[in-house]
Each structure stands twice: as structure tokens, then as C-alpha cells.
């Protein structure tokens, strides 16, 4: 994994759990439906059928997989699976696909409902994902870097320009998100994780048992400075007459942008 990707993942994790945790919501008693097409002997898959909008498992969202920021082990209190009589099933009886909102058992138990915490705000890395994600969406956009030598000594300062693009459902939500994110990153430090054995989730959305918390050696944490937040209204959007049809354009109507610089110190 390249440094750029590691920085990106570290910032993503920080924003998700340390800043946007206020936007974690609970979906209660969601029916679990058996998925015969993707089940096999010994791997029985149930999918949560949430009626929430935006969908808890839409792009950039998913179920919460740690209890709180700083935890390095799988959550114990965020997701609870129940059987048909409403008794909680032990966590040792199933695995959870946090990305797609699924419960996978060996067939020894029959889950019926799930109560889970999920991320209301979608956090994505690609502008192209905004439309698919449904608002509220935050796009993390980290730009170019230039390794600049220390004035004295042999190390380097590695700065990057970054942007958070906020797409909200209304003015109040936009302003809340803008302030929350601004306060959450302004003059703050983010642990510069090495992600030595991959991210917290595996490729299939389940907890990565190999995950270890390790910082990159001989490099500082990620420092964020020069943070500036502004409302954004693409001029054309403001000119569109409001009709029922133009509700479609609301994706771009309540936007804000936070500009920042993120850097770390690196020893040679």
C-alpha cells in the first residue's frame, strides 16, 4: 500500500469515527431475509431489509464496525442480532458484512432481526460517487504533494492540499456538517497509520482479524492546518427555477467546501 493511500485511509478513519460519530444512527429491529443465491452449505447469508433513507448500506455508509474511535478490535455493542422470539444471538455464532449489511451464520442459528448503528453521512473518495451515494455525502479529496526538505537537518516535510466537499439535504444540515468537520480537523493531528495488514474491514466487508494498529515509523502524525470553510453554490444551480422536477438538482443545492493542508514530517 502506497503512502498516499495510507494517509487517505488514516484521514478517512479519523473523520468517520472521531468527527462524524455524531451522525451515527440506530436502525432498530430490521428484518433479516435469507439470501439463497449467495448462501452455501456452512455459510448461510441473511440480508437486512432496512426501510431507512438513505439506505444504511448505500455507497460510503455501512454499519459501524468499532465501538468508538481508538478501538482496534471489532465492535461489541453496535450490532445485535436477534432470533424469531427476540432473544439476542451470541456474536460467536455469526459474522457480519458491515458494508452490505448482512449476517452470515454457519447454519446453527436462525437470525430474524438486527439492531445496528450505521453511518448516516456517506464518506467517499470519488466525486463520481456522489450521485450514487445519496445526500448527505462528504467527498475526501487529497491532492498533490511536494516533499520539501527541512531548513536544517536531513528530514522532509510532506504537505498535501486537501478538500472536503459537502453535499447536504438542506441548509441546516449543510451548516452543521460544515461546522462539525471544520472543528474536527482545524489544528488537529491524525494518527498516521501504517495499515500493515490491511484496513479494519476485509475485502468481503467482514472484520479483518489480521488488522493491527501500527503507526508509520520515522514519520510524524498527520497535521492539519490552514483550514477554511465556505458555502458553495455553483452559479447555474442558483438560477434554476424551483419545480417538482428540479428537486433532482438538490444534490448540488446545499453544498460547502472545506479547504485544508495536511502534512507530516519524515526522517530520512
Amino acid at each position: 500500500m502506497k503512502k498516499f493511500r495510507k494517509n487517505d485511509l488514516s484521514l478517512h478513519h479519523y473523520l468517520r469515527y472521531n468527527v462524524l460519530h455524531e451522525y451515527i444512527e440506530t436502525d432498530i429491529s430490521v428484518p433479516l431475509v435469507y439470501m439463497p443465491d449467495i448462501s452455501t452449505t456452512g455459510s448461510v447469508v441473511y440480508e437486512a431489509q432496512s426501510t431507512r433513507y438513505p439506505s444504511p448500506v448505500s455507497l460510503g455508509r455501512g454499519w459501524a464496525y468499532i465501538d468508538q474511535y481508538g478501538d482496534v478490535t471489532e465492535q461489541q455493542n453496535r450490532v445485535t442480532v436477534y432470533d424469531s422470539v427476540g432473544s439476542a444471538i451470541s456474536g460467536t455464532e455469526y459474522m457480519i458484512d458491515y458494508v452490505d449489511g448482512r449476517v452470515i451464520t454457519s447454519g446453527s442459528v436462525t437470525p430474524a432481526t438486527v439492531t445496528c448503528d450505521y453511518f448516516y453521512v456517506s464518506l467517499v473518495n470519488e466525486w463520481q460517487d456522489v450521485e450514487a451515494a445519496d445526500v448527505a455525502v462528504v467527498v475526501i479529496d487529497l491532492n498533490e504533494f511536494e516533499k520539501v526538505p527541512f531548513q536544517l537537518g536531513g528530514g522532509k516535510r510532506v504537505p498535501r492540499k486537501g478538500y472536503l466537499h459537502i453535499f447536504a439535504t438542506n441548509q441546516a444540515e449543510r451548516d452543521d456538517l460544515m461546522e462539525l468537520l471544520y472543528d474536527g480537523i482545524n489544528e488537529k493531528c491524525v494518527p498516521n497509520q501504517n495499515w500493515t495488514r490491511g484496513s479494519m474491514l476485509d475485502w468481503n466487508g467482514t472484520w479483518n482479524d489480521d488488522y493491527i494498529y501500527e503507526l508509520i515509523q520515522y514519520e510524524s502524525s498527520l497535521h492539519i492546518e490552514n483550514v477554511r470553510a465556505r458555502h458553495v453554490t455553483p452559479p447555474f444551480i442558483n438560477g434554476i427555477p424551483r419545480t417538482d422536477h428540479t428537486m433532482l438538482s438538490d444534490l448540488n443545492r446545499y453544498r460547502a467546501r472545506i479547504d485544508f493542508e495536511i502534512f507530516y514530517w519524515k526522517e530520512n
Binding site: 466525486w127 463520481q128 456522489v130 450521485e131 479529496d141 491532492n143 492540499k161 478538500y163 466537499h165 453535499f167 465556505r230 458555502h231 458553495v232 453554490t233 455553483p234 452559479p235 447555474f236 444551480i237 442558483n238 438560477g239 434554476i240 427555477p241 422536477h245 428540479t246 433532482l248 438538482s249 444534490l251 448540488n252 453544498r255 467546501r257 479547504d259
Partner: protein
């Protein structure tokens, strides 16, 4: 009297230096415009950004000049007084480029197009002119963009021509477009002024 003449001379020199500086800043921005916007335009688009290039340049020149302010103040003792200058540099009129929430009636279609491109826009869009619509479109301008789905739905009923998706749909914007190293600009102004005063 001599002191006032000195200040007048400084002010004239500074004005010339700033005119020159505005040219340098605008050249840099227009270079970004040519490299980061023009290559993505649709040459068949009747409202493509290159058609508004000169208008955009004039807008940048005018608003950048308005955004460079010099504050002078006298410092020192009774026997020795010196003029201290503070140079504040800003670029463009941000409200017309989509920062903030006010749509200015003076924002032309060309500036709207370029502002929207710089800020980026999510989703697929089609562009419609008042001429094609046969009526006023939008709140102020002669052009609007409409979600592609809506356009295709309404076009047959309203007699709008078939159109391709606007080339700058789902465009991530150029958030660093106005990022200029202002410390370099201020250093240059200070250096040029010092040299001019020596002459």
C-alpha cells in the same frame, strides 16, 4: 510639503506596480483556464467556455485590481517618521464564482458557466438557452442547465431540441483554481516598489 510629495510619488509608483502585478496574476489564472478547462470542453457546444475566455479575463483583471488594497500609515518618532505600507491581495469576485449564496444579477452566462465548472457539479445535465426554449429560462440568464432526465422528459412536450449531456457534468471542479501564493505576490510588489523608489 516634501513629505506629501513623497507620498504622492509612492502612490503613483505603487499604482503602476499593481497594474503590472494584476497582469501577472491574471496570466497565471488564464494559463490554468487553458490547461484545466478548455481541453475538456465539447467543441460543438455553443456555450463552450472558450467562447467566454476574453470576458473571463476582463472579469479577473477588474476584480483582482479591486481586491488589491494598500493601507499606509505613518510610524516613528517626532524627529523621524516613516510610511508603513500594508498590501492585501485577493483574487476575483468569489460571489460570482459560486462561493456564498447570493446570485448576482450581473453574473453573466459566461461567468456562470465558468463558475460552475470551477466549483464542479454532480449528476448529468443538459444545457438549454432561452432561444431554444422560446421563453425566458432561469431567474436571470439566457441559459440554464437542467438534469438530463428532466430535460429528456420535458423536451418532446416543449419542443426543445435533442441535446447531448453537458460535457462538464459530473465534473469534480478545480478547487485550487484561485490558489495563488500571495506571499510571492506581496514580496514582488514590495521589491518592485523599493527599486522604483531608489530611482
Amino acid at each position: 510639503m516634501g513629505h506629501k510629495l513623497d507620498r504622492l510619488r509612492t502612490s503613483i509608483l505603487l499604482s503602476r506596480i499593481i497594474d503590472n502585478e494584476v497582469g501577472i496574476i491574471v496570466d497565471d489564472l488564464m494559463e490554468k483556464f487553458d490547461k484545466e478547462i478548455i481541453p475538456f470542453e465539447d467543441p460543438e457546444d455553443p456555450a463552450r467556455p472558450s467562447l467566454f475566455r476574453d470576458e473571463f479575463r476582463r472579469f479577473l483583471e477588474r476584480t483582482t485590481k479591486d481586491n488589491i488594497t494598500i493601507k499606509s500609515s505613518e510610524v516613528g518618532s517626532k524627529t523621524r517618521r516613516e510610511v508603513s505600507l500594508e498590501v492585501i491581495v485577493g483574487v476575483g469576485d468569489e460571489s460570482k464564482m459560486g462561493f456564498g449564496e447570493q446570485l448576482d444579477e450581473e453574473t453573466t452566462d459566461g461567468l456562470k458557466i465558468i463558475g460552475t465548472i470551477i466549483q464542479g457539479i454532480s449528476g448529468e445535465w443538459k444545457m438549454l438557452s432561452a432561444e431554444e426554449a422560446g421563453e425566458q429560462v432561469g431567474r436571470f440568464g439566457k441559459l440554464v442547465i437542467i438534469p438530463a432526465i428532466q430535460y429528456d422528459k420535458e423536451a418532446p412536450k416543449k419542443g426543445w431540441p435533442p441535446k447531448p449531456i453537458w460535457k462538464f457534468s459530473n465534473f469534480p471542479g478545480i478547487p485550487d483554481f484561485f490558489d495563488i501564493d500571495f506571499s510571492v505576490v506581496v514580496d514582488r510588489i514590495t521589491k518592485n516598489l523599493a527599486e522604483a523608489l531608489k530611482k
